[in-house]
């Protein structure tokens, strides 16, 4: 042990392993969920409380499908089977979300209900969706990741670099970050460059004028739900691969997701992503125990005896909540000025 001296490299290897990588992957998962909330908010004009439970719904289909596929031996070595099940799960989630739109939200659009009324309806959808998931999969926690657990493990990293402190890159982290990057790039390209994406933005900007320009509102709504289904299923699956699946845990994701959207500026896609990383880094940085990190950096005489943990992990949801309240008090429009719905 070289703990008599100050060891910056090992200190930051430690931080990379326990803060940077977890926060990046958690942030990516939140970002996809937040992007879905922002899309619904911009186009359908309500805050979708059912988002987190829809993620559980999408993940549920992935779990059912992948266990079926594993039973049949339909796997590719090294890749989590769940990932192979995602495309079909997206179809399933799309059907579910479009049916909910047909059964619930369409009615409120037709009678031109106030945004807050539709929000209340979405809370109903949230309970129904959560109920369906618990009914089918039970409320118990489960793991569904298979295949290689690590891209490289702590031991491999140590042998390769000779550092005392190892860094492991979990397959789920690697997949989360790369897939989220690709997906976000795709969504932005779609919204900025394609005819349909522009029509969605036009519809969100000025509904009446979009109708006068011949943009079909039903089609815009359907495309939105399809995009939301893609984001939702992938976000849920990546979160589950990383942290395991439990309906209640997914349900509680609603708070950090909403916090991300509001911190970033509601209705702004870039803001949703920025907000997601702000929330994830705050959560991880504030709940991390810095004892070992400080031991690497400080001379022996100053080594801490406590864990040096600012907030216990059991309070991590409070962090989103506090950030949310602070933002609403100081800068309610968020980091990237979002738009606020005014009922007409």
């Amino acid at each position: 042990m070289t703990s008599e001296s100050i060891d910056i490299i090992n200190a930051f290897a430690l931080l990379t392993n326990f803060v940077l990588l977890p926060a990046l992957s958690y942030g990516s998962q939140l970002a996809l969920g937040a992007l879905a909330v922002t899309l619904v908010y911009s186009v359908l004009r309500f805050s979708n409380f059912a988002q987190a439970d829809s993620m559980a719904f999408g993940t549920m289909i992935v779990i059912l499908l992948s266990s079926f596929m594993i039973g049949k031996g339909w796997t590719i070595s090294g890749i989590p089977t769940a990932l192979l099940a995602v495309p079909i799960a997206i179809v399933g989630t799309s059907i579910y979300l479009l049916s909910m739109d047909r059964l619930v939200y369409q009615h409120y659009r037709k009678i031109k209900a106030k945004s807050i009324t539709i929000v209340m309806a979405s809370i109903g959808v949230m309970f129904i969706t959560g109920g369906i998931v618990r009914f089918i999969l039970s409320a118990k926690a489960q793991k569904f990741a298979d295949g290689e657990r690590f891209i490289f493990s702590v031991r491999e990293f140590k042998t390769y670099t000779g550092l005392e402190q190892g860094i492991a890159l979990k397959t789920s982290q690697f997949l989360t970050i790369t897939i989220a990057l690709i997906l976000v790039a795709f969504v932005f390209y779609f919204l900025q460059k394609t005819r349909t994406g522009k029509a969605m933005r036009a519809f969100s900007d000025n509904k009446e004028l979009a109708l006068l320009s011949g943009i079909n509102p039903d089609k815009v709504v359907q495309i939105t739900w399809l995009l939301v289904a893609v984001l939702t299923t992938i976000a849920g699956t990546l979160y589950g691969l990383d942290k395991g699946f439990a309906p209640q845990q997914y349900h509680l994701l609603l708070l950090p997701i909403f916090a991300s959207v509001i911190v970033g500026g509601i209705g702004s896609p870039v803001g949703a992503i920025a907000g997601a990383f702000l929330i994830s880094f705050s959560e991880v940085l504030l709940t991390y125990a810095y004892k070992k990190f400080l031991i690497y950096l400080l001379p022996l005489s100053m080594h801490p005896s406590s864990l040096v943990q600012l907030i216990g992990t059991e309070y991590k949801y409070a962090i989103s909540f506090v950030i949310l309240v602070v933002v609403l008090l100081i800068k309610p429009t968020g980091l990237f000025r979002g738009k606020v719905i005014v009922d007409d």
Binding site: K198, A199, A202, D205, N206, L209, L211, L212, S213, G214
Partner: protein, 234 residues
């Protein structure tokens, strides 16, 4: 028969009657103006012509064809275009994207029409990558006109195009409207600034409580003592 004709239109919002047998018509290459006091139903006439509000009786014909039963979108693909009074651009989209959205229903190449709009309003070409919300009031109005022209309409309906702009911008907008008319389109507009609008109008309608009170050429109406006294401030 005139190019666009609204004949004996009767309409109401709920139980409140707004239009009572009101008629307007406009020919190609002609600028017709509807003026009148607040609540006379001027904007309602536009909404009925566009199919945004159903008339309880009366008919709307375009080039001799009855279009009363068509939806707004169908009327737009038949050659009607509308520039609303407010919220007439997509604020968070660029000028060029605004024009592209205007031509959304067209299946053919819209780039030529975009060029035509730029030729008519050269400033829009310079600002084509800017967001509409960053433009001045007059420029934004040009974007609104440009967007409406993207369907290559034969008739433009304008709802109070000079509402809330400075007198200089008003002159600019009126000259834009004359450009549009001179390009061979029929233009029908509702206007608060009655005096100035009637000056450039080929035809004018004075509406009071949903009825045609006076009809004539712009000049006739300006010179009509009763119209002057009641609606033009002496």
């Amino acid at each position: 028969m005139a190019y666009l004709e609204g004949k004996n239109l009767v309409a109401s919002y709920g139980v409140v009657p707004i239009l009572h047998e009101c008629s307007v018509e406009v020919e190609k290459g002609e600028l017709a103006v509807i003026v009148g006091p607040n609540g006379a139903g001027k904007s309602t006439v536009m909404r009925v012509l566009l199919g945004m509000l159903d008339a309880t009786s009366g008919s709307v014909t375009l080039d001799g064809k009855d279009i009363s039963m068509l939806s707004t979108q169908d009327r737009i693909s038949h050659g009607l275009a509308f520039v609303p009074q407010t919220k007439n651009v997509f604020p968070s989209m660029t000028v060029e994207e605004n024009l592209q959205m205007g031509g959304f229903i067209r299946q053919d190449d819209i780039n030529k029409t975009i060029e035509e709009v730029y030729a008519l309003f050269p400033i829009l070409y310079d600002k084509r990558k800017q967001l509409a919300e960053q433009l001045s009031g007059g420029q934004r109005q040009q974007v609104a006109f440009g967007r409406a022209m993207m369907t290559k309409p034969s008739i433009m309906l304008l709802d109070e195009p000079t509402a809330g702009v400075s007198p200089i911008v008003m002159d600019e907008i009126f000259s834009n409207i004359l450009d549009v008319r001179n390009a061979g389109m029929a233009v029908l507009m509702v206007e608060q600034n009655a005096q100035q609008a009637l000056k450039i109008a080929d035809k004018g309608y004075v509406l009071v409580s949903g009825r045609n009170e006076h009809t004539g050429t712009g000049k006739e109406l300006i010179n009509n003592p009763e119209v002057r006294k009641k609606f033009l401030g002496g």
